[in-house]
Amino acid sequence: MIPAAFDYYRPSDIAGAIALLQEHGDDARVIAGGHSLIPMMKLRMAEVPHLIDLQDIASLKGITISGERITLGAMVTQHELIDSAELAAKAPILREAALQIADPQVRYMGTVGGNVANGDPGNDMPGLMQCLDADITLTGPDGSRTVAARDYYEAAYMTDREDDEILVTVSFDAPKGGYAYEKQKRKIGDYATAAAAVQLVKEGGSVASASIAMTNLSDTPVWSEAAGAALVGTACDADAVKSAVAAMLNDIDPTEDNRGPVAFKRHAAGIVLARAITRAWDRA
């Protein structure tokens, strides 16, 4: 419950935050909503001698919709995301997924950027962003660079972000067609036993394109290219769904924990994916 002592900074721009990251190296961390980092600090599982609060950096806030391109500032909260009617119209899967993340209080504080950057395979947004083929923009001392969400995750808590970089935005094209985020969890606020993000486009009674990503079924989110490919050209019937599930099961690697043994998680993964595909097809 009692975190170790730290020095606290509240810079008003990104340059100020990066300068602090450079100055203090491994001893510094940025804090966004604080709803993963503070719990870890309270358990003394994260030691952060220099804490850099991003709340005063205006450029990290806001949802920008420009034509078909959607850009979410890293400090956009889950609550703001759910509250945005414009975003719900353009990319309804985000709202559906965000309502399955945590609880109201956590959603007022927890941010999209923190969820995406955290690197915990339990987080829901990483798989969702892989499903949407989102771009993650990072700013560091030498400027900004963009990396695909599908390339961002290396292992549990290991991502492509360098220690002196800040995740500034997540952007993607407004998805087309039907969507679903289906999550099996033990209770409100729990990370998924298994979850599936699906976007698919229907044309002339068959699947024209499909993107499928899975949450908390490996040490990273899993974008299953093969599962999406298994649906393309089909009428999304029971056999097609079965093929997609089989393809997905080849791509995941769950581990046993108190959410269940591996065999159960694989079973649950198949169920949530089949449900998500069916719901997305109905909406397409």
């Binding site: 503070i38 719990p39 609060d53 007022y108 606020g189």
Partner: protein, 164 residues
């Protein structure tokens, strides 16, 4: 030890200034420094919501915010919602509908419920349950908490209509 910071908070309309280590959790600043002991601590993993307060218009678990982050904030706790002689309608309805037993979750429940009804003045039972899902209760089984909140919503809406 890190240097102490000069912290300013407005709590229930009153200004407070003090020196505190940045790592001090807001819940402890409220309870131990300012004597505002309505918000409680029920867990160490940010689940239970007993510490819920309203900060700059958001329902926040004050165990998951450092006092440094809250510097400059405007905070409302259960103590700011009513008085024994003039209860807030939610306090009144929790009493009337037996929405509490031990009372430990109640300050967080009511503070959260006030915000819920601000955002959704006419919620369904399902919306109340979902909107209160960040607050755990060991005693009531939730049923009477839901009744209390729905009753408060109905009364607030009646009062609002009468005023219009």
């Amino acid at each position: 030890m890190a240097d102490k910071m000069h912290i300013k908070l407005k709590v229930n309309g009153a200004d407070h200034e003090f020196l505190a280590e940045p790592r001090e959790l807001l819940i402890y600043a409220l309870r131990e420094r300012l004597g505002i002991t309505g918000p409680h601590v029920g867990c160490d993993t940010s689940h239970c919501g007993a510490c819920t307060v309203t900060i700059d218009g958001k329902s926040v678990k004050s165990c998951t915010m450092f006092v440094a982050q809250a510097n400059g904030a405007d905070i409302t706790t259960i103590e700011g919602l009513g008085s024994p002689d003039a209860l807030h309608v939610l306090q009144e309805k929790f009493r009337e509908h037996h929405g509490l037993q031990c009372g430990f979750c109640t300050p967080g429940m009511i503070t959260r419920a006030v915000k819920l009804l601000e955002e959704n003045p006419n919620p369904s039972e399902e919306e109340v349950r979902f909107g209160m899902a960040g607050n755990l209760c060991r005693c009531t089984g939730y049923q009477n908490i839901v009744k209390s909140i729905l009753a408060a919503a109905a009364e607030m809406n009646t009062v609002k209509e009468a005023a219009e």
